[in-house]
Symmetry: C2
Subunit: 455 residues, 2 copies
């Protein structure tokens, strides 16, 4: 007999995962290797270690080790804000009148407000262990920068964040959270790097872009002794760390004898979905179980649903390694969308390969539908969701309504990656009826895809 399921399932500390799971170990078709952007040859450990910490570079390249022990220092930090609750959405089920059981893994209960902290603390730990002075990174909307600031503060590492200028000016709260944690936040393009000065000279008064901020952060890392560059999504190492989301989710479900039917995650670079689905995908890859895993992306930036599976640059500045991924082309300019975390032209190689092999489905949704679902969720389940997370909410509701039609009691699990506290301009636009939908034309996409590197 199934135990009564509480509103929130919290694992005991003793039940928390002690190792991260590397889904690549169970993949028959491995993700294609990273390539050196200059030579187009496979990136070596030494090359990668010039940009990333050595142990992180090793994790990036390791396709065979299934489990990596989580170092004690990181486990301790995880205990500050993990385990995150797996919430049974009783209220939402009732409001929808669905026989489906809906669960969500809520990653927003930490000051950074999102799942990004799971990898930030790992990357800061390895930087500290290597004896580095600090790390550099870029941030757009600010979720990743905030998480990294917290992590660096904990390990007393210098943290230099290049923040896209328009966000720096329009999101002063995010900036101040980072400063409170001791990070140095520089609006990008700045006058502190060569590339920043060049861009400022070429485009006076520019608002900046993520591509430019990446280029500045990489330059800052390689030009200072004792610094490395860190990144919050896309990379396989990030998905490895984020597997803690899926492992906790699976442990909580197992504890109550629940078998998930559908796993839903929003997908920008792939860090959240990749982490949430990891142990479930692992079971599929090993032929032990079957699940529907659904990646949800915005219609404004549909890399899986309308992109091409090809080698591409990870950054618009073209300084990072090339990755094979579903991509819209590194020159693709996503139209305005308030889910800043999903405005990325490509998709993690791991997620891309699993999608290409048919283990993952993908769908795309319009912004206004997403905010409608977000507002409904906030009012019914209490928590104000991040616009990114709300993509998953929208599809979870759709699937639950399908169950209502068919009368099936499916178990639907989705990732609620973060809170919407710092996205109130977006909610204001929605509240005021001033939000639109922006869908790229086929020509837009073909134009940027035509500039893919020849590999």
């Amino acid at each position: 007999m199934q135990k009564e399921i509480p509103y929130k399932i919290y694992l005991e500390e003793s039940e928390m995962p002690k190792a991260w799971y590397n889904v690549r170990a169970d993949m028959k078709n491995k993700p294609a290797p990273l390539l050196n952007p200059g030579t187009l040859q496979k990136m070596t450990l030494d090359e990668l270690s010039g940009v990333f910490c050595r142990e992180l570079a090793q994790q990036e390249l390791d396709e065979t080790t299934a489990y990596f022990d989580i170092p004690k220092e990181i486990l301790d930090f995880y205990k500050m804000y993990r385990p995150s609750p797996l919430v049974r959405a009783y209220f939402l089920e009732k409001a929808l009148g669905t026989p489906a059981h809906i669960y969500y893994k809520f990653e927003g209960n930490n000051t950074s407000g999102s799942h990004k902290l799971n990898s930030a603390i790992a990357q800061a730990y390895y930087a500290k262990k290597q004896g580095l002075k600090g790390v550099t990174t870029e941030t757009g909307a600010g979720q990743w920068g905030t998480a990294l600031s917290m992590a660096c503060s904990y390990f007393n590492l210098d943290c230099q964040v290049y923040m896209v200028k328009v966000s720096y000016e329009q999101k002063p709260f995010r900036r101040e959270v980072m400063r409170t944690y001791g990070a140095k936040v520089t609006p990008s393009p700045s006058m502190e790097t060569e590339v920043g000065r060049r861009i400022n000279a070429e485009f006076p008064g520019t608002n900046g872009s993520l591509g430019c901020a990446i280029s500045e952060a990489v330059e800052a890392a390689v030009s200072q002794d004792g610094y490395r560059y860190v990144l919050g999504s896309v990379l396989s190492q990030v998905l490895l760390h984020q597997s803690v989301i899926g492992l906790e989710t699976k442990a909580a479900l197992d504890k109550y004898g629940i078998k998930a039917d559908i796993i839903i995650g929003c997908a920008g670079g792939g860090s959240n979905l990749g982490g949430l689905m990891a142990p479930f995908a692992g079971e599929m890859l090993r032929g032990e179980a079957d699940y529907r895993i659904i990646a949800v992306e915005p219609k404004s930036c549909p890399s899986l649903t309308r992109g091409k599976y090809a080698y591409d640059f990870c950054d618009t500045g073209k300084v990072c390694p090339l990755a094979k991924m579903y991509t819209l082309g590194s020159s693709f300019m996503p139209s305005p969308n308030h889910a800043g975390g999903l405005r990325y032209h490509g998709m993690s190689s791991v997620v891309s390969q699993l999608y290409d092999d048919g283990y993952i489905e993908a769908t795309s949704v319009e912004q206004t539908e997403v905010f409608k679902a977000a507002q409904m969720f906030a009012r019914i389940e209490g928590t104000l969701p991040a616009p990114e997370s709300s993509h998953a909410i929208k599809v979870a509701i759709d699937e639950a309504l399908k169950c209502k039609e068919t009368g099936e009691s499916k178990n639907i699990v989705f990732g609620l990656t973060g809170t919407g506290y710092f996205d109130m301009y977006a909610y204001a636009a929605y509240n005021d009826g001033k939000m639109g939908d922006y869908i790229p034309t086929d020509e837009d996409i073909q134009k940027s895809l035509s500039k893919l590197p020849k590999v």
Copy 2:
């Protein structure tokens, strides 16, 4: 042998309190009764029921019932975001090098970001039960208004919030959260009430004040059919609902065989401290145990430490009942302080009486010291605290450092009432070194105390 204490103690759903505790039932010296501002006679149930919902008015006047069953509808809502964690501050203890054990009850893990939701949902429930159309209230910084918006949205009640104009304009994020939950937010003074129009005519371009917003909210409640006014602090009914904080805290401590030595809470109107301390004060009142209970207030608004125990108006508009309380006088203008929730001239009658009877200590702290403690806490324990909550942090750290001197392993428990997400202007001022301390002179206080009503 004591069980190993986890970082976060979560009660099981089955261990959650099923009843609120009314500390007045165990008080030998009851708080003085509320008086009708017109007649100066004891407020009757009928009089109170004209402004408040009837069941809430009953709770307000009941000094003998020790336990009130929490209605099932409220218990269900509590399960959405409660139990809140009791956190063992292992990292802070280590950083301080203290033998003390520090615990904090964290009430910020809900979208309203504070403990205010505990009473908001209760007040909304009784309004719905009474068949009302909606409720009106005022909000300054916005914590209470946000909580009430969420609660009203849950019960499908109309929610009209009069928000001090300067906050309405300077805190657009808070405003948008309320609107997302369906509340009607009106900048005060408005042109929608008689008192608002009068004040606008008298002081063109005024920024508004809490006193004015209260007056508008009360007028809106009594002039619309099916509406009542609700308030987020000070009242005994609010302390009753907030006892859930203390009851959970006590249950979590008991579960691990921990006896608290010191209980610390910030105190503005008294809702948080009153709730946190309730079961502990009850044990003291019944002679069953002894605790040090410390109320912490800002030096800029020191009602307990520098005020007078006397009857006073609860609002500057003088429309609400008179209460006997420690007060600085209803005309006292607190100097600028970023802990908006602590800028109240008086203190809950319950807290005031217990303080007067020696069950509670009080201390006051300077703003810059508070933010220093807040930043330290954020960096060490991860969570970015609200300025209000940080008053308790400051004193908890001081007490832990005293233990370091004496070598005592005291158990220190404090209330972390909320997060600082919506207080980043305050943190920015601190980060930029632009924060000052503002302490009223004896003359300032005497001036407002000289205007106390003659009762």
